[in-house]
């Protein structure tokens, strides 16, 4: 049996089945914490632990799935082009919002983790925690952190933004749908964007674009901010 689990087809199959099942579950029970990606990951980890399968063996197939992250990031460029026309009229304030929000997201998490005495490799893994998972993973590969830690926390950030983002923003006096959408995309990437579309289509479009723009900004400056900050304090 263990030999079967080492075949690449096992990792591919369980990933697809877990994801499809989790999506069906979400259709039946519309509850924020039942985000398909979280359910699928928890299910697969549970399965691997119960049957005593190494992550390495699962990932022999899993890596064929994650390979598609590369072309997916390129596809985000197409999405950005398509929606670009819709935000053109508010472009300046939109870019200002995403840029300042993006820089705030990187700086505050680096500073807080540092003050709480968390080891450097975790800080390197979490500096890009606000951006979409495939981009965050690439940033972490460059900064020397651990991509798997990045992926886990980035997904958690998205779920947090999805579940509580609009509530927090409304409590803080934000009324504009454009503001809520942009903030969700900047701070909580694609999983936050899914929630923004539930607020309104306009909020969703701004959120999706904010996710792309912050992905680029964060990719450009995170290595330098980390170097600057960790260089200053060491």
């Amino acid at each position: 049996m263990q030999e079967f689990f080492q075949l690449p087809v096992f990792g591919v199959f369980i990933s697809i089945i877990a994801f499809a099942g989790a999506r069906e579950l979400r259709k039946k029970f519309n509850y924020a914490l039942l985000t398909p990606v979280l359910v699928a990951i928890v299910f697969i980890i549970g399965f691997l632990l119960i049957f005593n399968i190494d992550y390495e063996h699962y990932n022999r197939g899993g890596r064929y799935i994650s390979f598609f992250l590369g072309p997916s990031v390129v596809a985000l460029g197409v999405f950005f082009y398509e929606k670009y026309e819709e935000v053109k009229q508010h472009l300046k304030v939109f870019l200002l919002s995403v840029t300042l929000g993006g820089i705030t997201g990187i700086l505050t998490v680096i500073i807080f983790l540092f003050l709480l005495k968390v080891p450097g490799f975790i800080i390197e893994s979490l500096a890009a925690k606000s951006v979409t998972t495939p981009i965050a993973i690439e940033i972490t590969k460059l900064t020397g952190g651990i991509p798997e830690i990045t992926a886990g926390i980035v997904i958690a950030v998205g779920i947090f933004g999805n579940a509580f983002g609009p509530f927090i923003l409304k409590k803080l006096g934000i009324k504009s749908k454009i503001a809520i959408g942009t903030a969700l995309g900047t701070a909580a990437h694609g999983i936050g964007t899914a929630r923004a579309f539930e607020e309104s289509k306009l909020a969703g479009v701004y959120s999706g674009l904010a996710m792309c723009v912050n992905g680029i900004i964060t990719a450009l400056i995170t290595p330098y901010l980390l170097e600057l900050f960790l260089g200053l304090v060491s």
Partner: protein, 110 residues
């Protein structure tokens, strides 16, 4: 569909090659995203030529990062050791980011 996939992988390759030869600290796929946006803006590539593949990839984006999420199990002990400072830092940072980003647009009256 085949043409669309060729474009997507072509731009990915272009991004990777650029990163490789110029040794810039940006991932090849992020450069690819930037290049394909420029190519569409400059009308070098037509939207309908790439859309079939890009729509499908974005539709299943979440599936593609599941294996990395599962990889977290290998680092479970590290996360367990630092779960409190990580949670505090990440949640506080996310709330501040949400607010800064939202208040700029709210104050502009949009």
């Amino acid at each position: 569909m085949l043409k669309a996939l060729a474009y997507i992988f072509g731009f990915l390759l272009l991004g990777e090659v650029t990163t490789y030869f110029f040794e810039i600290p940006i991932a090849g796929n992020i450069l690819g995203m930037f290049f394909i946006f420029l190519a569409l803006r400059l009308k070098i590539v037509k939207l309908q030529d790439v859309k079939p593949a890009s729509d499908k990839l974005i539709k299943y984006l979440v599936l593609f990062f599941i294996p990395y999420g599962v990889g977290l199990m290998v680092y479970f002990e590290i996360i367990a050791e630092y779960w409190l400072p990580i949670s505090v830092a990440v949640i506080a940072s996310t709330v501040i980011t949400l607010y800064i980003s939202a208040i700029i647009i709210e104050k502009s009256g949009k």
